[in-house]
């Protein structure tokens, strides 16, 4: 265990764990747009930057992304230093210029006092903030169905060749974890469409309720050694089945006793 100082308070931390983890554990609010615990930090949004210094640095300080900076003994961290706040407002201002219509961006920017961008707004822009959460989750789950394509201002998230990705199983993790709810999908009539790919959902053999796609169920069964029969019923019907089984046993017990 090591000790670091965050906003004047000495706290314990594990050597090498990322500053953001410690900051969040201390319930200090530091905004992030590209952070997700399921994936490796990437340092893309730059909102989690903090000011760091050490007594032996002679008053010199540095600005680092807390999601990627390992905690070290004696480090002094300021999560809301004047320069840090200015940096965050400036970055949110840039975001606001690029995605003026995104409610999530507008709200976060407003929290840092940016109600209107001072820069030229991008007209006809979309709400994809290129945080890479979707692509990193897809990679971590082992599908690699979508990735960042292109570079600079024209960068976008897309499947290979912009065609329905063969590797996608329709788990929807990309869409559900998008911080700006930008990734669209359509679920109706027992089917799902995402990234221009159509999927069939597994319908519960009892009640018809759908939970995941057939492709996802087959993938899990094949790669994670799960009996495919487990996927035939929905959670509710499974619970009823369990109650029925346990009920029968208890009833035998009851009859045997009486």
């Amino acid at each position: 265990m090591i000790h670091i100082t965050i906003n004047g308070k000495v706290v314990q931390a594990k050597d090498g764990e990322m500053l953001l983890t410690v900051i969040r554990r201390e319930k200090i609010d530091v905004p992030t747009l590209c952070h997700h615990e399921a994936v490796e930090p990437s340092g893309a949004c730059r909102l989690c930057m903090v000011e760091i210094t050490k007594p032996e640095w002679d008053g010199w300080c540095d600005y680092v992304t807390s999601c990627l900076y390992p905690a070290a003994d004696g480090l002094i961290v300021n999560t809301h230093a004047k320069k840090v706040n200015e940096l965050r407002s400036s970055i949110l201002d840039m975001y606001l210029a690029r995605h003026p219509k995104s409610p999530e961006i507008r709200q976060l920017a407003a929290e840092y006092g940016v109600l209107k961008t001072q820069f030229e707004e991008v007209v006809d822009g979309d709400n994809c903030i290129l945080c890479g959460i979707c692509t990193r989750i897809c990679d971590t789950m082992g599908f690699h169905a979508i990735s960042m394509v292109g570079r600079g201002h024209g960068k976008e998230v897309a499947p290979p060749l912009n065609m329905a990705p063969t590797a996608c199983v329709g788990c929807l993790s990309c869409a559900k974890n998008c911080p700006t709810n930008y990734i669209e999908y359509n679920m109706e009539n027992g089917g799902l469409t995402i990234w221009k790919k159509d999927f069939e959902m597994v319908a519960c053999t009892e009640c018809g309720k759908t939970t995941i796609t057939k492709e996802f169920a087959e993938y899990l069964s094949k790669n994670r050694d799960i009996n495919i029969d487990y996927f035939r019923k929905c959670d509710e019907c499974h619970r009823k089945e369990l109650a029925g089984t346990m009920g029968r046993i208890s009833n035998w017990d009851r009859e045997a006793r009486s």
Partner: protein, 144 residues
């Protein structure tokens, strides 16, 4: 692992105190959460079965999780879901053969029983002792 969670349907009256206890214990910001335990009609007269996670040894939910959000707590023996890591892919919901991982649509989180970290609230509040959290030796002795 010192304690074991035991369900005795023959004692359950279906009063649903366990649901309330669970729901309040897992509340987020004062908002009640979806219960992880629920008494279901066992199909026989006056027989209720409180259905909750069995904390399977070879748990399908753990196997189904592609981001390692589900892990077994070595102290309590419970399979715990880390909401920070969970990506809501529904794999565990679909894979559990007992339907004990559930989507809380209001909080938009997948929930499952975590034995309240080693002190299950439902057992505390069960008026008929249909749910008990007791030392393993005791239950082993009783059931032989």
């Amino acid at each position: 692992m010192n304690n074991r969670f035991i369900v005795k349907p023959e004692l359950c009256t279906g009063c649903r105190s366990c649901e309330l206890a669970c729901s309040f214990t897992h509340a987020i910001d004062g908002v009640r959460a979806l219960t992880r335990i629920t008494p279901i009609d066992g199909g026989f007269k006056d027989l209720w079965v409180p259905v909750t996670c069995l904390q399977c040894d070879d748990a399908a939910c753990i196997k189904s999780c592609l981001v390692n959000a589900l892990k077994r707590n070595p102290v309590t023996g419970a399979v715990e879901l880390n909401h920070e890591v969970c990506v809501n892919c529904m794999a565990c919901v679909a894979a559990c053969p007992f339907g004990c991982a559930v989507l809380d649509t209001q909080a938009n989180l997948i929930v499952k029983c975590d034995l309240c970290g080693g002190d299950p609230a439902c057992a505390h509040f069960c008026p008929t002792k249909a749910l008990v959290w007791e030392p393993i030796e005791k239950s082993v002795k009783k059931t032989g």
